[in-house]
Amino acid sequence: MIMNNLILMPVIWPLLTGIILIFFGKKVGIQKVLSLFSSIIGVIIAATVVYRVYHDGMITLAVGSWKAPFGIIIAADMLAALLVLTTTVIGAAILLYSFTGVGKDREHYYYYSIFQFLLVGVNGAFLTGDLFNLFVFFEVMLMASYVLLVLGGTKIQLRETLKYIIVNVLSSALFVISVAYLYSIVGTLNMAQLSERIAEVNQPGIVSVIALSFLVVFGLKAAIFPLFFWLPGAYYAPPIPVIALFGALLTKVGVYSIFRTYTLIFYHDQFFTHTFLGALSLLTIIAGVIGAVAYWDVKKIIIYNIVIAVGVITYGISLMNDQAIAGSIFYLIHDMLIKAALFLLVGVMMKITGTSDLRKMGGLIKQYPYLAWTFFIAAISLAGIPPFSGFAGKLLILQGAVSAESYVGLAVILLSSLMVLYSVMRIFIYGFWGKPAVTKEQPVKQSVEKLLAPAILLVTITIFYGVGTETVYSYISQAVETILDPDIYINTVLGGE
């Protein structure tokens, strides 16, 4: 029983930390020490959860001992456990960056508290086994993200937060509406029982319609093709650690929800729903590529790379064969780590040069070789060059596309990798090579070690993730097993009735 309570700890622990941090509002030193300590414990907890799930199979916890369909179920399968571990690691790295990167005026106004609440929402969304509970954790996450987005109150933040909130209020209302429709048809909110009942009625047309309305809801969070319009503006506004947190975690929660609903609940009429998802994913990739190639702004380039990655992952989901699903999971975790790392690196570049315009940068490699080579490794990892982490995921997705005979998807993903490489190499070439840009003050070498350390940490993790594919794969294949056989999930949650 204690072991089962463990899987709730990734939610409880940051929640507790966030609450305690509220009492130290103005004492930034105490806040930093406490939240760093909490993050380290959080990583240990998450690693323990992964270890337990790896050895014991999927773990569930009935909150308040109310049996499965009636109470709220916390369910940790391998996918959820791995994503929780990734989240806490990224959270810890970005927290380290925040210590020097976020500035006093934000730290004095509960920045670290809200940071923890965001982690509560994200971890909760990964672990829950109940659709309405997922909605609540979405709101926890979104509310924290609204505050983090606007904290500091500059003009651009106020402007973009207004748009971001309005879009998310709309998508939350759509979420509630979709839940209401689904409840009226199957009469339950527990994901396992939902899946079981939809299997019994064999997904009639109305359920496919609801599946698409969930796709709209989660697509708005995850920024898939026609619904990504809010993302470039909203992610441009906040300071770098907040963008890194958003870019690494928020859209991925939407992707995870698509993952969960389209593999556990709505998987019976795949020709309709999954073909639709596949087409949207490819359009997402194309839209992202256009954005990533078009801009001269380092932040914008990485932001559009988020959109591309979301498209690649959801394309893998839409194929529904074991290679593609394994590839999607592999790529999802890789992308969370590498996007956080890239935003932090871009943040260091902006700190040095004082601008995000690529045309005003240049020659950074002479004074900052570590930054340059870390960025280089991150860039080629993002594009998927073999020894690094982006390779295995994309390879598996491509294999999945071949075995599903979807050659259009194959071509789009391969070409998109090339354009991704072009977009980030452009940052490398214009930012790091060439002559140092002419600045008004003397080009004094700034000390950026403290900002660079967390980025190097993340890139090192991705290197191990890429090189140690064999080790990682045994975890991921366990996740794939649960994903492709919903009966494992259903039987574990409902107690094998």
Partner: protein, 113 residues
């Protein structure tokens, strides 16, 4: 009864969509209010509007109305209340700082800051 509710909820969604597409921030916020009203009424309707006692356990009643949608609505109401309060304060701050309530003028393409 459900048909009538469905029509009313449809009208609420229609008004909400119309208001959210307008230029003034306050009209958009009124739109989000109507949207959440519609969503909450929809949960109630979709849970079924059959006759029954209030969901408080007593000896007299044989049939109760479904208590689950009511709990869901209660949760959704406080969440949308919190978000709306935040949105209103944000709109107030944005009006103070940016000096406009016209969404058309909040584009910010001229300066990247």
């Amino acid at each position: 009864m459900e048909v009538l509710m469905a029509i009313v909820i449809g009208i609420l969604f229609m008004c909400a969509t119309y208001l959210m597409l307008s230029k003034s921030i306050l009209r958009i916020i009124v739109g989000t209010g109507l949207l959440s009203h519609g969503a909450h009424l929809l949960i109630l309707t979709m849970g079924g509007l059959k006759q029954g006692a209030v969901p408080i356990l007593s000896d007299a009643a044989g049939v109760y109305v479904d208590p689950l949608p009511q709990a869901l609505i209660l949760t959704a109401i406080v969440i949308s209340f919190g978000v709306t309060a935040f949105l209103l304060v944000l709109a107030y701050r944005a009006y103070q700082e940016l000096g406009t309530d016209n969404m058309e003028r909040l584009k910010g393409t001229d300066n990247h800051e």
